[in-house]
């Protein structure tokens, strides 16, 4: 059989959502960002809300998220995305507003903004990528870096005495009255990606129900920063990250 006989519309088992642009991603091979972008794009397409969605990109590797999702975007100052999202949503309640932030952006410099946006119960979606390292600046310690983990600024491993402890910000945010849905997911295999998609869809749906803030953490890999192959990084994540950052819903109401 010739390949031309196989490539036919009736044989299509998968096609890229048009919400995902054709731009070539700058992410390293094995990085979690690309998968999470695709999941969000698919949710936007399936919900039919491309014309009603405003994304807010962070400072960090995902600063260029706006090149990959074909929606209206704001690019925020480091850590401030939840403040932008607050005003964007309050002034445009008919829009689905989400922030996309990494661990340095959200859990270090932007701690105040995320805490208060969640505490006010802003009707927004916050997608938090936790790969325990600063990727964009070249692999420095993040607030979520594990004890003992080697980074550019913890060359002998993170030491609690010197660097403090890894911050479980998602557990903190789950305590706040303003959050309605707080979950921790991952994206390293088909089963986890399917779960993640359900979580992101729920979060987007929540944002139109005036229930409060939906917060989806995705534990991911930074194999370049971790200096591991993609396969090894996934294994390291499962063995080291998941025990400290256990997956699952923390709050759903």
């Amino acid at each position: 059989m010739d390949i031309k006989d196989i490539i036919k519309p009736e044989n299509v088992v998968y096609s890229k959502t048009p919400v995902l642009s054709d731009a070539i991603m700058h992410y390293c091979p094995g990085c979690t960002h690309g998968v999470v972008h695709k999941v969000i794009a698919e949710v936007i397409e399936e919900m039919g809300i491309q014309d009603k969605t405003i994304g807010i990109s962070p400072v960090g590797c995902a600063v260029f998220a706006y090149n990959y999702l074909n929606i209206d975007w704001e690019q925020a100052a480091h850590g401030r995305a939840p403040a932008l999202a607050t005003a964007t949503k309050r002034l445009n309640p008919d829009k689905y507003v989400f922030t996309y932030q990494g661990d340095g952006d959200l859990a270090s410099i932007g701690t105040a903004e995320v805490m208060h946006a969640c505490n006010r119960g802003e009707n927004i979606v916050i997608v938090f990528i936790n790969n325990a390292i600063y990727g964009m600046t070249g692999g420095q310690m993040a607030p979520t870096t594990l004890l003992g983990q080697v980074t550019a600024t913890t060359p002998y491993g993170r030491d609690a005495k010197l660097n403090g402890y890894p911050l479980k910000i998602t557990e903190l945010l789950a305590q706040l009255e303003g959050t309605c849905y707080v979950t921790r997911q991952s994206a390293q295999n088909p089963a986890s990606v399917r779960k993640l998609k359900k979580a992101i869809r729920k979060a987007f749906e929540n944002s139109m129900m005036e229930k409060g803030t939906s917060f989806v953490e995705v534990v991911g890999t930074c194999n370049s920063g971790w200096k591991m192959s993609p396969v090894k990084a996934n294994k390291w994540m499962e063995e080291n990250m998941f025990p400290f950052y256990p997956l699952g819903d923390m709050k759903d109401r």
Binding site: Q50, I56, W73, R80, L84, A87, T88
Partner: protein, 359 residues
């Protein structure tokens, strides 16, 4: 004639915002400007015009809320005082870089540091020369009365949207706290979603099949692109310098000496001009209303009739640098100022004038 109501300058900002059709205010309490948000909360405009009012967790957050709201083409604003504006500096640079319109009010108090809650004009450099990083400017309006506070909110939004630039109202504790009669203009409705889409094609209103996605950013990693951004911004600032200078004069036509002062200091200098005239000195006043764009040409044009200029500020001497740049050493430019929250009296200003020019 419209009714005149007695109110503080800070309250006039709040009424000016509601009545010019502002969509949102985001602020954080700080003396001496807290009445702005207090008045808005008391007026509850969300029940009448639909204006959003929110107390943020910090000035940092306030200015970033302004960035988020302005990205969607809405008329949004914040207010603060000196040290709060310092915290907003990063956001102001982002707003300028992303070419977002907004109004930011600074009711100045004495610094540096935590300083004092008494009035000052020591943030001129911060407002006019930068404050945040990078080559950027804001339109800076200097009110001298509660009426100006009311009027400049609407004017600020008009200019901000005309040029896609942040507009700052650079006020001080005197103007903010002083009670004066204010004539409130006609109530302007907030723009509809359709009007925003038509007036602000760049705004984030949701990507429809009819248009490409809109992006609000100040990021350009490629230096060639970033330089083009800067060249475009500089061209815009030049256009503003050419078209938007605003100033007022008092007894300047036959003046041999000129006081140059802005904001509350211009009111005090007006009284000093009267005293000088009584004493037989031909003194006039030039009050810059826009600090950027600065009335450089207007000062230059007066040089042939003048023997000297006295710039008076509640600072160590900041605007005087721009006066000297305009004068280019052709006549003496002297400076008198008080700092740290002290307000000079008309007598003091006249004494300084006599000391510099008549002894």
């Amino acid at each position: 004639m419209a009714e005149k109501i007695l109110m503080k300058g800070n309250e006039a900002i709040a009424y000016g915002a509601i009545r010019c059709g502002a969509d949102g205010y985001f602020g954080y309490p700080i003396t001496p400007q807290s009445e702005v948000m207090e008045t808005l909360m008391e007026q509850k405009p969300w029940e009448t015009t639909g204006m959003v009012v929110l107390q943020a967790e910090s000035e940092t957050s306030s200015i970033n809320m302004v960035y988020g709201g302005a990205s969607t083409g809405k008329k949004v604003m914040t207010s603060s005082s000196s040290l709060g504006i310092s915290l907003m500096a990063e956001g102001l640079s982002y707003l300028a870089g992303a070419e977002l319109p907004c109004v930011v009010v600074n009711v100045m108090r004495g610094g540096p540091g935590l300083g004092t809650i008494q009035p000052s004009q020591a943030d001129y450099f911060q407002a006019v020369k930068g404050g945040g990083h990078g080559d950027y400017k804001m339109i800076v309006l200097a009110p001298a009365s509660a009426q100006d506070m009311y009027d400049y909110v609407g004017l600020g939004f008009d200019l901000a949207f005309k040029y896609r630039i942040p507009a700052m109202i650079l006020s001080d504790g005197v103007i903010g706290q002083m009670m004066e009669k204010v004539e409130m203009g006609e109530m302007k409705p907030r723009r509809t979603a359709e009007q925003v889409k038509a007036e602000c094609p760049w705004a984030l209103t949701g990507k429809t099949p009819e248009r490409d996605r809109n992006l609000i950013t100040s990021l350009a990693l490629d230096p060639n692109v970033q330089e083009r951004v800067n060249i475009k911004l500089q061209a815009k600032y030049k256009e503003i310098q050419e078209n938007e200078v605003r100033y007022a004069t008092y007894l300047a036509e036959d003046a041999e000496y000129l006081f140059v002062a802005y904001g509350s200091m211009s009111r005090i200098c007006e009284a000093a001009v009267d005293q000088a005239r009584e004493a037989g000195y031909k003194v006039g006043l030039l009050r810059p209303i826009t600090l950027f764009p600065f009335p450089e040409k207007q000062i230059k044009d007066m040089i042939p009739q003048l023997k000297g200029i006295l710039t008076v500020e509640m600072s160590a001497g900041q605007m005087v640098e721009d006066v000297r740049l305009a004068v280019e050493g052709r006549i003496p430019v002297e400076f008198y100022g008080r700092m740290g929250g002290i307000i000079p009296s008309p007598d003091e200003v006249l004494d300084a004038f006599v000391k510099f020019f008549k002894k």
